[in-house]
Amino acid sequence: MEIKARQLRARDLLKGDLEGVDLDQYVEERVLTTTLERALNWARSNALWPATFGLACCAIEMMSMVGARYDTARFGAEVFRASPRQADMLILSGRVSIKMAPVVRRIYDQMLEPKWVIAMGACASSAGVFNNYALVQGADKFLPVDVHVPGCPPRPEALIHGILKLQRKVQDRPDLGWRTRYEAQGTEEWPHPNVGAAAETDIA
């Protein structure tokens, strides 16, 4: 009976017979209204494509997260893009040595806005067990990091929790102002003319 009633109302809507409050209620039940920004953020958060950046042991747990048991594909991180130009998210999994840091920064710069970084594991967040000459003491010394996932190595579920937290962050509050503090906008190789460091220069 309900289906019949809905069909009748739809027919009325198409004929232009629903007016006023009825129309509003009809639309509200069926159509999701939102601003474009929120829709974009929802789409971005549910399709975060990571760049393959496995450095050390955390990379193995990251691969295991992609595996069939802890499946990240169901959260939108479907494919790990090898090229940073095609990736949204950089999962820094492993210890960043001083020789590797410029390489990581370069890859980060080659990613296109919007981009986010997850520092996976203790070594990427804060050099972990290794307080010595060879490692950068935490990746956020040279990269803006959005989510730190603790663990050595973090369980795949912990990393998924980190990704979900990032998704919520992207959906709700994509920019917490630290990007301006770190001057991290416009860090691509050919920066956007209106954003960040390139805003002063005259790019035709």
């Binding site: 496995g54 050390a56 042991c57 193995i60 691969m63 590797m100 390489v103 290794f130 010595n132 050595c152």
Partner: protein, 425 residues
């Protein structure tokens, strides 16, 4: 002395269902004399960030068309200063640090370090602890080979093998988590024995796991062994003869694929490996196909060892009774003053090792894993050095890839099984 067993299909090339016999493709040799204008050499950088390099390995490859004429590896992009950090910490605290070197063979790293320290202390390990160490190490070997197979097959294009291998790998990690509490880097192997005894029912669980694994390994073999694409990509590729491999210091599955049955578990048995009956798979030709077959067969042999170890697990303490080296059990701390003092001394300062140097080597998943410890009488080691098999095996990569195609270089790198954590330490 050494059990030489399975011969991989090197002599007779398998006849495939289509009746076509695959022949190894060889790249054209370097021309003598001057290179003309249309034969210039191009140097390409396979940078540290690359999907096919297993970890952060940088290769500078000089190409002539598709043929590799020269190759130089650059390492050090994940150098963690583990050896220097070890000098700053007491022996007990070195174990978690050292596990993170070759990050797929963490029990092996801990085992070789503990064996070196036990050699310097002249400390015997109880038989139950030895068997438990063997079980965990062989399960770790299976785990390492599963990750290798998954990532290598993925590099070659057989992506589905990746999912299957990682499913199996998760089961092995479940077993580790049940016995040690951690999936990776378990700090289970301690100086004098193992950290904890196995929980009830773990042995039954591992026996089921091992049965399951053997069946799955059969499935992987069914998928890849006679797969025409896999055969064409790996047969005849990357052949280095055994004498050259020995000159380069290569050990492990690479050497065994070339025909030399040297395996430290049989040649110089340590940690009660002499109690187990297992074979050493040996190849004939030494190409990438043989390396693949040797490692898969090693997985089966490891399953056998685990089964024998569990069925023959002796009773007894799981760590040495010497309170000067191993922590006393917690219930003793409430009743015995000496136990309390020992606990305090061990946790704050650690045990002291009399001065001396020792180099101990075991058979890791990639070859001879050695640890050199210099003790100066204090509670901290004066020097810890790891002879990592991947570091030495990497020198063979050049011999394998020169005068081969670029695509073969990817195959060679996959079958070499480098772990950059071990190379760079």
């Amino acid at each position: 002395m050494v059990g030489v067993s399975e011969r991989t299909a090197g002599e007779s090339v398998p006849e495939l269902a289509t009746g076509v016999v695959t022949e190894p493709v060889t790249a054209p040799q370097a021309p003598d004399g001057d290179l003309g204008p249309d034969r210039e050499l191009l140097t390409v950088n396979f940078g540290p960030h690359h999907p096919a390099t297993h970890g952060v390995l940088r290769l500078l490859v000089t190409l002539e068309g598709e043929v590799v004429r020269d190759m130089k590896p650059f390492v050090g992009y994940v150098h963690t200063g583990i050896e220097k950090s070890c000098e700053d910490k007491s022996y007990w605290k070195v174990i978690p640090l050292v596990e993170r070197a070759d990050y797929l063979a963490y029990h092996f790293n801990a085992l070789v370090f503990c064996m070196a320290v036990e050699r310097l202390l002249d400390e015997p390990v109880p038989p139950r602890a030895q068997y438990l160490r063997v079980i965990h190490c062989e399960l770790n070997r299976i785990h390492s080979h599963l990750v290798w197979l998954g990532t290598s097959a993925m590099d070659l294009g057989a992506i589905s093998v990746f999912w299957y291998c990682f499913r199996e790998r998760d089961k092995v990690l479940d077993a580790f988590e049940a016995s040690t509490g951690q999936r990776m880097h378990t700090r289970y192997i301690q100086v004098g024995g193992v950290a904890e005894d196995i929980p009830a029912g773990w042995d039954r669980r591992v026996l089921e796991l091992v049965d399951d694994l053997e069946e799955r390994v059969g499935q992987y073999e069914a998928m890849l062994d006679r797969n025409e694409i896999f055969l064409r990509r790996t047969k005849g590729v990357g052949i280095v003869d055994e004498q050259r491999l020995l000159e380069l210091g290569v050990t492990g599955p690479l050497l065994r694929a070339a025909g030399n049955p040297f395996d430290l578990r049989k040649a110089a048995p340590y940690c009660s490996y002499e109690d187990f009956d297992f074979k050493i798979p040996v190849g004939t030709v030494g190409d990438c196909y043989d390396r693949y077959r040797v490692r898969v067969a090693e997985m089966r042999e490891s399953c056998r060892i685990v089964r024998q170890a569990i069925e023959g697990l002796p009773e007894g303490p799981r760590i040495t009774e010497n309170r000067k080296v191993a922590l006393p059990p917690r219930h003793e701390l409430a009743t015995s003053m000496e136990a309390l003092i020992h606990h305090f001394k061990l946790v704050t300062e650690g045990f002291r090792v009399p001065p001396g140097e020792a180099y101990v080597a075991i058979e890791g998943p990639r070859g001879e894993l050695g640890c050199f410890v210099v003790a100066d009488g204090s509670a901290k080691p004066a020097r810890v050095h790891f002879r990592d098999p991947s570091f030495v095996n990497l020198q063979a990569l050049r011999d394998m890839t020169v005068d081969g195609y670029v695509a073969d270089m990817i195959v060679n790198l996959a079958m070499l099984d480098p772990i950059l954590g071990g190379i760079d330490r």
